[in-house]
């Protein structure tokens, strides 16, 4: 089985700074990590490979050159091949242009299964995975928490808030993985050395995926971010610690003071 795992480098912080003019994320000076849902997706692929050593795992990311750090991490965890999708024309892409770019690259690479994380902790859209599947015209299952192979099909568990579905899906297909589905393995010492000393990261650009630059990056992005802001933290509430009757009276008077009741 040939698995392509899509991973994204994200800032390791909840305090994301936004470029006030472009409305895009500022990544400089922020510690970066592999997106947790994506890392769980990679672990899922590695477990499938543990069960069936004929499996090959290609990790793919779209981003600037510094994103090679997570590709090397993926190789050190056990992936076979790493590809960086990078080109000036890809910059500023929204989810539509991103998924078109990635889907076009994956079409060239070939696959039986594509695994994407459910969503990235920076953008939180959860759109790229399903959109890749739409571009490739293949079935997809999102919010997956468990995968088994059965011949050329997969049996997956799709999580909802209070129930789950068990779905049989024919490959080639795409799934989006939840970070809660497993505990990703550590990198292996020897593979870290290989990944940093000898590994050539293959890159693909606009020419390789052969898509009109007008459809890529900021130009190909129908989404325009008008304004993004960080929510102000709420003030801490008031805790009333009297006996129940007095507390109820106190709370009623506080709510009345604020014209809530």
């Amino acid at each position: 089985m040939k698995i392509v795992v899509c991973i994204k480098q994200v800032p390791n912080t909840n305090e994301i700074r936004i470029d006030p003019i472009k409305g895009t994320l500022i990544r400089d000076g922020v510690d970066s990590i592999m997106n947790p849902d994506d890392k769980a997706g990679l672990e899922t692929a590695l477990q499938l490979k543990d069960d069936n050593p004929n499996t090959t795992i290609t990790v793919l990311t779209m981003g600037p050159n510094q994103a090679t750090a997570i590709l090397r991490e993926a190789i050190a965890m056990g992936a076979d091949e790493a590809i960086l999708l990078t080109d000036r024309t890809f910059a500023g892409a929204d989810t539509w242009a991103t998924s078109l770019t990635i889907a076009s690259a994956i079409k060239k690479i070939g696959f039986d299964l594509i695994i994407c994380g459910r969503q990235a902790i920076d953008g939180d859209t959860a759109q790229v995975g399903p959109q890749i599947a739409e571009h490739l015209n293949i079935p997809h299952v999102s919010y997956v928490s468990c995968v088994e192979t059965k011949g050329s099909s997969l049996i997956v568990k799709r999580e909802f808030e209070d129930f789950y579905q068990r779905i049989k899906v024919q490959t080639p297909c795409l799934i989006t993985s939840l970070s809660s589905m497993n505990k990703p393995r550590y990198m292996r010492v020897g593979r870290i050395f290989d990944a940093y000393r000898d590994l050539d990261i293959k890159t693909m650009g606009q020419v390789d995926i052969n898509i009109d630059p007008e459809e890529l990056g900021l130009k190909g992005s129908p989404t325009k971010v008008r304004k993004t802001e960080t929510k102000q933290a709420k003030k801490s509430g008031v805790v009333v610690e009297l006996d129940p009757k007095e507390s109820a009276e106190k709370i009623i008077s506080l709510l009345a003071e604020k014209y809530i009741i």
Partner: protein
């Protein structure tokens, strides 16, 4: 001169740190309290290649180097001295000498499973009457033609209760003194080879420190490690390497207790402010930090010289002497800065201070290190 690490070392260090925080730290208190060997951690270390860091890939290892292995011991020891010494004894005292002195057959048979972490290693030199005077071995290996018959006992053997492969020193020629000592590779379960008393210790209480009892143990001639009569030199060279590992353990203990103290003193309030605002605390922490950093430089330099195949015996002795004494001093100050709380088992600095003491004793006491150092400069 370049004090920076290549990226692969930084990534290894951060992986070791994450592993230590997530897998080792949560067990440290229990392992100490219950004197329990953390076998599950050894299996987890094996899964990420930590049991064979400086061993070439062709022998099941990771193909990294001493410096990388030292970073692993340091990071583990920052949170658990027991786990640090398990890795140190396994690697420096068992896997590495088989790599350096073993025949191809011995490497295939013993080194590969050690490096993969399928088997755990130990090293047995010390006897009841042969401590610092390691040449006074009373364990005898009698040549019986096809095999040796070994009789005797060893004490204070790290990892003993859980080890599968042991390097054991024995006298093959009683009259020849240290030139009559030979190293053998023994396996757990050999008839006549049993594990004796488990020591109850002040620190590193999860580490399995036991007596080995050897009663008419038949050992095949192909299990001689290195040359006949060259065991003492092999043991001394092995301990040179081992000392860098123990120095790294000491360094980890010092750094771990310093880290705990920094966060504690920034939180703990007395007289209306954090105790880190008092000049006494600041001066103590400045001293602790400087000494720890100086120890780090000595430890890394010794590892770096070993990796460059330069003579490193003096560097290893200096690193071990200095780092272990810094560990004792820094962990003691850490307890003092924690006040009464630091004396309780609620806070990990109490355990770290107990763990630090052994680093001044095993694999050559501080006094032995001074003998080595003086011996190599007063020539």
């Amino acid at each position: 001169m370049d004090f920076s690490f290549a990226k692969e070392y930084e990534v290894c260090r951060s992986m070791f740190r994450e592993f230590a925080e997530n897998e080792v730290k949560p067990l440290a208190e229990e392992v100490d309290e219950e004197e329990r060997f953390p076998l599950e951690t050894v299996k987890k270390m094996a899964a990420c290649g930590m049991m064979g860091i400086p061993i070439p890939k062709e022998y099941g290892g990771e193909g990294a180097d001493t410096l990388t292995y030292i970073l692993a011991v340091e990071e583990l020891s920052k949170v658990c001295g027991t786990t640090g010494v398990i890795l140190s004894a396994h690697t420096s005292l068992c896997a590495v000498p088989i790599l350096e002195y073993g025949t191809e057959e011995q490497k295939q048979k013993f080194l590969i499973p050690l490096a993969k972490g399928e088997k755990l290693g130990a090293f047995a030199l010390t006897e009841a009457n042969a401590g610092t005077d390691a040449g006074a071995q009373q364990t005898i290996a009698e040549d019986c033609g096809d095999y040796y018959l070994i009789n005797g006992s060893k004490i204070f053997i790290t990892n003993a209760g859980y080890a599968d492969i042991f390097i054991v020193m024995a006298m093959t020629d009683k009259k020849a003194g240290t030139r009559g000592i030979t190293a053998f590779i023994l396996e757990k379960g050999m008839p006549g080879f049993t594990i004796g008393k488990h020591e109850k210790k002040m620190g590193i209480r999860g580490s399995s420190t036991c007596e080995l009892i050897l009663e008419d143990v038949k050992v095949a001639k192909e299990n001689v490690l290195g040359k006949l009569g060259k065991g003492f030199g092999l043991a001394m060279k092995t301990l040179d390497g081992g000392r860098i590992g123990i120095a790294a353990q000491a360094l980890g203990l010092a750094q771990g207790s310093l880290d705990e103290t920094i966060s504690y003193t920034m939180e703990r309030k007395q007289f209306g402010r954090a105790i880190s605002k008092f000049q006494n605390t600041q001066f103590q922490i400045a001293d602790m930090h400087c000494k720890t950093e100086a120890a780090r430089n000595l430890v890394y330099k010794a590892a770096w010289k070993k990796d460059r195949k330069e003579a490193y015996s003096l560097d290893a002795a200096m690193a071990k002497l200095f780092a272990s004494e810094v560990a004792m001093e820094v962990t003691t100050k850490a307890v003092q800065l924690h006040g009464g709380y630091g004396y309780t088992r609620e806070y990990s600095v109490e355990r770290m201070m107990r763990d630090a003491k052994i680093t001044e004793i095993y694999e050559g006491t501080s006094e032995v290190q001074k003998m080595v150092i003086a011996g190599s400069i007063l020539r």
